[in-house]
Symmetry: C2
Subunit: 127 residues, 2 copies
């Protein structure tokens, strides 16, 4: 397994999930060594949830899993980009991408994409 | 100014810089509140360097600055995507993107893009 630098952020590296079909950034999350290993071994993206403080198989409750198509690592080995085949919306708020709001010059937020699902139907939990 | 969640990561949010022309992920870095404010005010991307523990105007030593074209914020406001007009390579190793290596199934790394500049000519410092 490649040698990522987990030391810089208390055992975590930053992971950027990108839609393999159009390159859109879907979400940013974090992986510990176990999550990274499981991601490589299973081909299904696993993160480490900082808020719940535990391993998090993306889509475990919602079914909106991410299948790995490619993994890239950055120059100092503390961040990865994972190109994924995303089932359903990546965001627990029902949008394709968690980055569904654009910041205007005045700081105002504008929704930049359609909501694909009603979050209430996505099993409640953060997927 | 919009209210980002700087509390979750010791005063930092995660920032993903994306090439505004083709959507490629260029780098992942971090911003504290001052860096985010300066980025909004000046239109030039500023980060906070965790390794040097100080404000970091990207390209200050190399000239490879990033001009802001658009900023998006994620659902829980602790990560942003900045679409940028990148001058020169984003990576201090001379590649367009810091994610210039792909991780193979066996863990081997393969360079996935051409080196645009010799790092030795990029003023040495991490730009």
């Amino acid at each position: 397994m490649i040698d990522l630098d987990f030391a810089k952020m208390n055992g975590l590296v930053t992971a950027v999930a990108v839609d393999a079909t159009d390159g859109e950034v879907l979400m940013v999350a974090y992986m510990n060594e176990e999550a990274f290993r499981l991601t490589l071994e299973t081909g299904i993206v696993h993160y480490y949830s900082r808020s719940r403080d535990k391993l998090w198989k993306k889509g475990e409750s919602s079914g909106n899993v991410q299948r790995v198509r490619e993994i890239r690592v950055d120059c100092d080995r503390d961040a990865i980009v994972v190109r994924v085949e995303q089932t359903g919306p990546a965001c627990h708020e029902g949008y394709k991408s968690c980055f569904f709001r654009t910041v205007g010059a005045d700081g105002a937020l504008t929704v930049n994409q359609a909501q694909l699902m009603d979050p209430a139907t996505m099993y409640g939990g953060k997927s």
